[in-house]
């Protein structure tokens, strides 16, 4: 690896992250996400009356279906639309560096959003006895799942110049991957396909981690998923030539 390879990614990453916070869209989406998430969660929380976060982590994947495409929609589409992509990709950087920086920038942004949701576990912890282990595990799982959605969303953003198309298509794609491992789908699909679908679905892997079980199988799944879509993303970017 060339010296300074990571440094260049870091510089691009800073630019990406700054880009999120320079745009009002980011604040609006974080704000809306937090309000809706808190409301939906605490709405049932006080009815059930248990200091438990299970419902929260059932809710989170659904919220991600909208939050993550909102994070990724701009990424490539905006660069293509404004023409800055030409400028970006003629800098002395490789396509991989550009793709990785965009991914890491989006991941950091997601991480910050998740940090802001920590008010919920702290609130609950102050209300009753909670087990920290599963909560930490679930947050880790949420980050993994988020990373998978992000790579998918970034790939879709690289296909279009239009942010709205990127958003809607990413919601649809995330939904497909979320749903494909769902019990309902798996049960009604042909026997041969069932384990395959179960493995493919993003949601099923999240359930494992959310239960506090960090299995290498799930980790490998997420890492391969992310890598695959980042790789396709890089190939799409290279297609311009």
């Amino acid at each position: 690896m060339e010296k300074g390879y990571l440094n260049k990614i870091y510089i691009l990453f800073k630019k990406e992250l700054m880009g999120y916070f320079n745009s009002p869209i980011a604040y609006i989406f974080i704000g809306a996400f937090l309000v809706v998430l808190n409301w939906l969660f605490f709405n049932s929380f006080f009815i059930i009356g248990q200091a438990d976060m299970r419902n929260y982590f059932i809710l989170l994947p659904w919220m991600f279906l909208f939050l993550i495409p909102a994070i990724t929609m701009r990424s490539w589409a905006e660069e293509k639309k404004s023409g800055t992509i030409e400028f970006l990709l003629t800098l002395p950087i490789t396509d991989w560096q550009a793709v990785l920086a965009k991914f890491l920038g989006a991941l950091a942004f997601l991480g910050i959003t998740l940090l802001l949701t920590l008010t919920i576990p702290f609130t609950i912890a102050s209300l009753g006895n909670t087990d920290a282990g599963p909560i930490i595990g679930s947050y880790l799982g949420a980050l993994f799942m988020g990373a998978a959605y992000l790579s998918l969303g970034l790939f879709i953003s690289s296909l279009t110049k239009n942010q709205i198309i990127a958003f809607v298509a990413a919601v649809a794609a995330c939904f497909v991957f979320f749903f494909v491992g769902n019990d309902f789908i798996v049960a009604t699909s042909p026997q041969v396909l069932a384990p395959f679908l179960k493995f493919l679905g993003i949601g099923a892997h999240f359930d494992n981690i959310a239960r506090g079980v960090i299995d290498t199988k799930d980790v490998i799944y997420y890492i391969s998923f992310v890598w695959l879509f980042l790789w396709i993303n890089k190939e799409i970017v290279a297609l311009r030539k």
Binding site: G4, K15, M18, E86, F87, P92
Partner: protein
């Protein structure tokens, strides 16, 4: 030195560049001239490594730009058409980002930014977001970005498009200033720009190079296409016959008709020949009379039109 060799680019079924060859010497300001859609932008995109050619090569200092893309990109400054910039960044943030990604050492970044802010006249707007800048200032930020890393070669794609006349002159002067110690290649379809700024011109049309040389060389070459217009009272056929006897006249064309015995003729003399005196002698000898006489020498516009037909 940049050497473009048999460069071709085909996108789908369209042949955008058809085996073009030219050379840019060190320290030269080269104007890349051609009508819209001629292939200027495509050539620049290939030089800067954004696209790859379908066939052919570009060498920068004897290094192939496809094989040594990263190395050459780091020597190059590029301002794409329409000046795409990260609008939401402030000018200072943007230049800092460029300085960092271009690998300027940390302790030198401030000085580098200062120096380009100075040379591009950006002092007033340094804290403003780029989206609030006027077109002229955007262009300057674009230029600043392209020279911040002390690049040897600057590629500018239509840097004066969309500017008002004052801004055009400012940017042109800036390009000249930059060009003093760098190789600059810039494209344009504005002819006066070429005359005002360039050391050498390459004219491209329909993906082919149709002419190259210094502006004055091109004008001289086109000077052979000088024409003489003359309006003579007298019998048309005999006039034509007599004029054809003058050796230096290559072609005589009837241009217009004012009356039954008054016709206008367009005469194409041989290169460099002056036919005026011989012409008037013949007219006098035959007792005709000259009613109008004018000589049209080629301008840059003619050169352009001739070479991009």
């Amino acid at each position: 030195m940049i050497r473009v060799e048999n460069l071709s680019k085909k996108i789908g079924e369209t042949q955008i560049l058809d085996s073009i060859n030219f050379q840019i010497n060190d320290g030269e300001i080269l104007g890349f001239l051609g009508p819209n859609g001629a292939g200027k932008t495509t050539t620049m995109k290939i030089i800067t490594g954004f696209w790859t050619p379908s066939s052919g090569n570009i060498f920068v200092d004897e290094k192939n730009v496809i094989e040594n893309s990263l190395e050459i990109r780091s020597k190059l400054g590029y301002l794409p058409e329409n000046v795409p910039l990260y609008d939401e960044m402030k000018v200072y943030e943007y230049l800092k980002f460029i300085a960092e990604i271009r690998g300027i050492a940390k302790e030198k970044i401030k000085d580098s930014i200062k120096s380009v802010v100075n040379s591009c006249g950006l002092e007033k707007v340094i804290k403003k977001p780029i989206e609030e800048l006027s077109k002229g200032y955007r262009q300057r930020v674009g230029l600043a970005q392209s020279i911040i890393h002390k690049s040897d070669i600057i590629v500018l794609d239509e840097p004066t498009t969309g500017l008002d006349p004052n801004q055009i002159i400012e940017i042109r002067n800036l390009i000249k200033e930059i060009g003093k110690d760098k190789t600059v290649i810039f494209s344009t379809h504005i002819l006066s720009e070429v005359q005002a700024t360039c050391d050498r011109v390459v004219i491209i049309n329909n993906g082919r190079i149709t002419g190259q040389g210094t502006p004055s060389e091109l004008m001289q070459a086109a000077g052979s296409r000088e024409t003489v217009y003359v309006k003579i009272r007298g019998p048309k056929e005999i006039i034509k016959e007599k004029l054809k006897e003058i050796e230096e006249i290559m072609e005589i064309m009837e241009k217009d008709r004012e009356a039954d015995d008054i016709f206008g003729y367009e005469i194409q003399p041989q290169t460099g020949a002056d036919v005026r005196e011989k012409l008037s002698m013949i007219v006098m000898q035959n007792n005709w009379s000259i009613l109008e006489f004018s000589r049209k020498s080629a301008s840059m516009e003619d050169v352009f039109r001739e070479l991009t037909k």
